[in-house]
């Protein structure tokens, strides 16, 4: 699966309050969450980005709260992938469960500039920066996580388990 989009670069320790401030968590409506995505890090983010664009960030992206509204907001506002030096663990787990592709690549996180056009091959983890010409290899997604992704996320995985138990 290939993704292409423009990069939007953020710093280290982007927390879930920056991704979707708690003042908007009195709803789980995707459209409302999307409008406020990244608002406290870049107030105009949701208006500036195009469908398929990519978030680049430093270390510990998604630290803080367990709110699944964070990957929901990112996905719903049109972001196709997040590449970071590292991810906070609950965010990492939630992103996979929601089907938001995320890749860890410290080199890409350091070198990609806002506005660069990236092409990402999710199955191989290869990130090609079409603007600079450089290519990066992201850490491979662990086998177990790949199984979850292949099943279509956690819920289809659970559904298939439920069908198995009904058939027993």
């Amino acid at each position: 699966m290939k993704i292409q989009g423009k990069a939007w670069v953020f710093g280290d320790d982007i927390d879930t309050d920056a991704i979707i401030p708690a003042r908007y968590l009195n709803t789980h409506d995707e459209r409302i969450l999307a409008e406020h995505c990244m608002e406290d890090a870049d107030p105009d983010f949701s208006r500036k980005i195009n469908n398929g664009d990519i978030i680049i960030a430093g270390k510990n992206f998604g630290c803080g709260s367990s709110r699944e509204h964070a990957p929901i907001a990112i996905k719903a506002c049109g972001v196709s992938c997040v590449i970071a030096e590292s991810f906070a663990r609950i965010f990492y787990r939630n992103a996979f469960n929601m089907g938001l592709p995320i890749l860890e690549s410290p080199e890409a996180a350091r070198e990609v500039k806002s506005g660069d056009i990236l092409e990402i091959d999710l199955s191989s983890g290869k990130i090609h920066n079409k603007t600079s010409g450089k290519t990066y290899q992201a850490s491979p997604i662990p086998a177990f996580m790949r199984e979850l992704v292949q099943a279509g996320g956690l819920i289809p995985y659970i559904k298939s388990k439920m069908e198995e138990s009904f058939n027993d």
Binding site: D13, D15, D17, A18, P21, A22, R23, L25, N26, T27, H28, E39, D40, A41, P43, K59, N60, C63, G64, S65, S66, R67, E68, H69, P71, I72, S86, A88, R89, I90, R93, N94, N97, M98, P142, F144, G153, L154, I155, I158, K159, K161, M162
Partner: protein, 422 residues
């Protein structure tokens, strides 16, 4: 052969093979799962989408509307209604209405619903609090909660463990909050990312449960999956009269395999303050004395327990909150509220011109009941000081223990408790 850490011990007892080690991906049996009014509505929606009919066990699930309650607006009332309707539909005994609800991480241990030896998941990042009971407890998202409500199981990667040994004796006004702020200051907000933190040593062994909960509560602020303390006689005293189910004490093996070990003598440690906008920006309160504040918040899942309120009352007694400052006090549960009232703490707070709120997460996450305007600054006993955490993105939050917060409320600037005591 290497022995097991506390996490490995507990998780081993919750998997079919009976044996786990750090790095394993395992499916573990869940003793208790819960969500709140922000996270549970999504979990309930997913639960329904799967076609599931019943939760795996109604006595092992709680729905706790603590974030935007008493409901601040129509949207939040609708969110809570989703929880209420689902609880009725499924016959869930542990749905807590206003009047019975408290902040989840204070309420569940107090009610004896989360216990030593448990594997607990909560759709809230501060679920790691229950590690203080010697449980393996970790925060997850709504999808994981939905899956656990259906199957009673959850998948984990068994974490490596970092051990923290605290030696020496605590100076006056230094508390569990200062120990965890110190730890985060040393290792950083991602210093324990994906890891379990085990807190141990002579200082921890003497600490009351309230301080232990505070320490484990903020393990997430170092990126950890959970923070744990080996249960002992202090744990037993807390748990025994409350437990609603049987429980088990586990302890780590002496030859357990730790990824890293930190050993600190904290005898010289001063009360600490975390500066904006990360909990790792920690400095001694003596280096923070010229910072004027507009609001003080005493409460939250970190520091809203009875011991915290007593500490604040000790300092506020016979004093007045500075005229420029709003001081808001949030007892974490109805039981704490009642006890504080009976002990006369509310009179001390009201006489000091502080205000007492019903139990709620409220301002900690910028939800309601004490939001900051642009340019305002708060000192809070809460757990996060991220940009916009308590209100406007141009406001600031500093973090401290309840004694420092109370002293600062009186002086209108960040202050050491010694500055206000006669």
């Amino acid at each position: 052969m290497n022995g097991k850490t506390l996490s490995e011990k507990i998780l081993s007892a919750h998997v079919e093979s009976g044996e786990v080690k750090a790095g394993d991906l395992v499916e573990a049996r869940v003793d208790f799962a819960f969500g709140n009014d922000i996270t549970a509505p999504i979990a309930i929606k997913i639960f329904k989408e799967t076609g599931a009919r019943r939760v795996f066990d109604p006595y092992r699930i709680a729905l706790i509307p603590d974030h935007f309650t008493p409901n601040k607006d129509i949207a939040s009332a609708n969110q809570v209604k989703i929880l209420r309707d689902f609880a009725r539909e499924q016959g869930l005994p542990y749905f807590f209405e206003v009047g019975r609800v408290g902040i989840e991480h204070a309420l569940l241990p107090e009610q004896g619903l989360v216990l030593p030896g448990d594997v607990i998941i909560g759709a809230d990042s501060h679920t790691c609090t229950y590690g203080a009971l010697g449980a393996f407890a970790t925060g997850v998202g709504s999808t994981d909660l939905a899956a656990a409500m259906i199957t009673g199981k959850v998948w984990f990667r068994v974490p490596e463990t970092i051990k923290f040994i605290f030696k020496g004796t605590l100076k006056p006004w230094v508390s569990g909050k200062d120990l965890i702020l110190y730890t985060i200051g040393q290792i950083g907000v991602d210093g324990a990312r994906y890891r379990a933190m085990e807190f141990t040593g002579e200082v921890i062994e003497k600490l009351p449960m309230a301080d232990r909960f505070t320490i484990c509560n903020m393990a997430i602020e170092a990126g950890a999956k959970t923070g744990l303390i080996t249960p002992d006689s202090i744990t037993k005293e807390f748990v025994k009269p409350r437990a609603q189910r049987p429980y088990k004490f586990y302890s780590p093996d002496e030859n357990a395999n730790y990824e890293r070990v930190f050993e600190w003598d904290i005898s010289e440690l001063e009360p600490l303050v975390a500066f904006p906008h990360l909990p790792e920006n920690v400095r001694p309160v003596t280096e923070a004395k010229n910072i004027k504040i507009d609001q003080v918040v005493i409460g939250s899942c970190t520091n809203g327990r009875l011991e915290d309120l007593r500490m604040a009352a000790k300092i506020l007694k016979g004093k007045k909150v500075h005229p420029r400052v709003r001081c808001l006090i949030f007892p974490a549960t109805p039981e704490i509220y009642k006890q504080a009232m009976e002990e006369g703490l509310f009179k001390i707070f009201v006489d000091a011109e502080a205000t007492v709120s019903p139990p709620t997460c409220g301002p900690c996450l910028g939800g309601h009941m004490g939001i900051l305007a642009k340019g305002e600054r708060a000192l809070a006993t809460t757990n996060r000081n991220f940009v916009g955490r308590m209100g406007d993105p141009k406001s600031e939050v500093y973090l401290s223990n309840p004694a420092v917060a109370a002293a600062s409320a009186i002086l209108g600037r960040i202050a050491h408790p010694d500055e206000v005591l006669d």
